[in-house]
Amino acid sequence: MSTPPTLTINVEFGGGLELLFANQRKYQLSIPVLIPPDTTATPPSGSAPPPILSKPADITFLIRYLKENHLKERPELFVEGETVRPGILVLVNDTDWELEGEGDYALKEGDEIVFISTLHGG
């Protein structure tokens, strides 16, 4: 009967990406703490049968969530497969997501996630 627990994170777009998101640079989002396990991922090798919500929400989930809920146009400029399109940088609390496990980074309450496009070129 209770609603699933959620966590609040802040998302910001830079480098022109906000144009794809209704020209709104900052979003405060409430997302589920746990999400269904990725169907494409290897099932956990533990003994317990996987519950319906078993995996912490990660950035891969956030990318999908943004695409499904807030992306207004030209999704090919934001996503490619399960991740962001090449040329888009992701910062987790001001740190390159490549240092934080990229899409596998498990989101925490109050996280600041920034997506920056480099596609405007030089």
Partner: protein
């Protein structure tokens, strides 16, 4: 990584997908203390070390080319440029970062001798240029603290005139430059200026009576006299509309922009034209340039010197160095620099067809490569920098004014069905007494037909004609206008030829060039 002697292919594939983007540790490679904030080609930097790292790459590329005589080894002399500075500005990420770096490094506000102090006030969490330790070593009288260029200007070339309905962003760019970089003067130009006598006159070009048009349906690019009045924008649109492929459009825009910037630089007595081409963009343009026949000039894509064609009459003329100071700085570094310093990136306007060309495809390829295998992109640029044409060129293309590969005509004659012409001696067109008629003179019998082809580099010839001429219906509409600098030099050639007093030659000029005369 693995010490086992398993199947190397299998091993590397297995490692490839899960390999972290950084080497070994998350600690900054520079200070070896702080936790890293960004990974650049597998190397980890903390935020305070990232700024000086980018600034160092920028200076290392630019500063050896500032003084007239380049310094070898550690610099002792003060930096002093022989002329003013012009920055090419597109509104794109690289060019905004270039303006910011140039502004902070060489045009600090007058109440400050250096930029280190103004750094912090600009943005609370911004990143600086300087490594504090290096700064102390350099000292207060370090040559960096003297003004290297007396004057700096920013030139934005608006391309909307080529595409009806496209947004004009000149005022947006002017506001951005004036409000963020007040030490730099904003200059606006338009792509159609290339076809505008008034602009040509304003930048000190030699006005000629009568312009030429070129029949782009012929491989020889036959020339004839231009007739009728057309606005510069009409001429530009005609020029663009007659290009044979989508790929040719961005190439043509780039070449026209480059020459507009160069002539602006010349008029402004600039010794340096800086472009905001990043490592990523440089790799894209290198690959796409080679694929479009620009292999001979692959080194000029990275760095070049332009000696204005008129320089013989003005011996004191200094060549203009075209430098891309961000050519070791990737787009990721540019984006992080811009983000951490709160720079606004207006972005380059996409033009119709831009997405379909070879350039755009190469761009997608390179950005994908850069994400998954970050070191390969700098390897492309480094490899191309080592490429050197076997032959030295003494002539310059009349259109893009880059070195033209000798013997192009030989090759073109071999692949087309023509009688053999000994054209082993193609003189440099702009110093030649014979100019455009060099080839035709040796062709006995038929009337010579003046064409632009012998005066073009391979890449420009390809840009204008890569569609098979046999597949194209010839009609009057295939005659394209030419930029002012081409007209000017063609007129020189023809005036010279006229003076030679050869009856037959004069007749041929009349037939082909003065057909509009009563």
């Amino acid at each position: 990584m693995s010490e086992s002697c398993g199947n190397p292919n299998f091993e590397s594939e297995a490692l490839m997908s899960r390999r972290p983007k950084y080497d070994k540790t998350k600690i900054c490679v520079r200070c070896k203390l702080a936790m890293g904030s960004v990974v650049i080609r597998h190397v980890v930097y903390c935020k305070p070390c990232f700024g000086p790292m980018v600034a160092t790459k920028f200076r290392r590329t630019l500063e050896p080319h500032i003084n007239v005589t380049p310094d070898a080894g550690p610099r002792r002399k003060a930096l002093k440029a022989p002329g003013s500075l012009l920055l090419g500005f597109s509104g794109g990420l690289g060019s905004v970062v270039l303006l910011d770096l140039v502004n902070r490094s060489y045009f600090p506000p007058s109440n400050s001798t250096g930029d280190a102090s103004s750094e912090q006030t600009k943005s609370g969490n911004g990143i600086g240029l300087r490594d504090e330790k290096a700064e102390r070593r350099g000292g207060k009288d370090h040559p960096r603290n003297l003004r290297v260029w007396d004057k700096g200007s920013v030139c934005y070339v608006e391309i909307c005139g080529a595409f009806p309905g496209m947004r004009d962003r000149t005022e947006e760019m002017r506001d951005l430059v004036n409000s963020n970089f007040p030490q730099l003067e904003f200059i606006s130009a338009r792509l159609e200026d290339a076809f505008d006598d008034a602009w040509w006159n304003a930048v000190g070009g030699k006005l000629v009576d009568g312009a030429f048009r070129v029949d782009v349906s012929s491989e020889e690019l036959h020339l004839s006299a231009m007739s009728g009045e057309a606005t510069p924008a009409d001429r530009l649109q005609k020029y663009i509309s007659l290009l044979p492929t989508q790929t040719a459009i961005p190439s043509a825009i780039q070449d026209l922009t480059r020459l507009i910037l160069l002539h602006t630089a010349l008029y402004r007595n600039a010794s340096h034209l800086l472009l905001g081409t990043s490592l990523t963009s440089l790799s894209v343009s290198l690959i796409s340039s080679i694929s479009q026949g620009g292999g001979f000039n692959v080194r000029e894509e990275a760095q070049e010197e332009w000696i204005p064609p008129d320089s013989r009459s003005r011996p004191s003329q200094i060549p203009i160095r075209i430098i891309r100071p961000l050519r070791d700085v990737g787009l990721k570094e540019c984006a992080m620099w811009a983000w951490w310093n709160g720079l606004h990136i207006p972005g380059r306007e996409k033009h119709p067809g831009g997405k379909q060309g070879v350039g755009a495809l190469t761009y997608n390829f390179i950005t994908g490569l850069e994400r998954d295998f970050p070191s390969t992109v700098s390897a492309i640029a480094r490899t191309c920098a080592k490429l050197e044409p076997k032959q030295v060129s003494e002539s310059h293309c009349i259109l893009c004014q880059r070195p033209a590969q000798p013997g192009i005509q030989d090759w073109k004659e071999r692949i087309s069905i023509r009688s053999f012409i000994d054209s082993s001696i193609i003189p440099p067109p702009h110093v030649s007494r014979d100019g455009i008629f060099a080839k035709e003179k040796s062709d006995s019998g038929d009337l010579p037909s003046p064409g632009l082809t012998p005066l073009l580099c391979y890449a420009c010839h390809t840009t204008l004609t890569s569609r098979s001429p046999r597949g194209t219906a010839r009609n009057a509409d295939m005659a394209s206008p030419l930029p002012s600098w081409v007209n000017s030099r063609l007129s020189d050639s023809i005036a010279t030829t006229r003076k030679m007093g050869e009856g037959a030659m004069r007749d041929s000029i009349r037939d082909f060039l003065l057909e509009e005369d009563p």
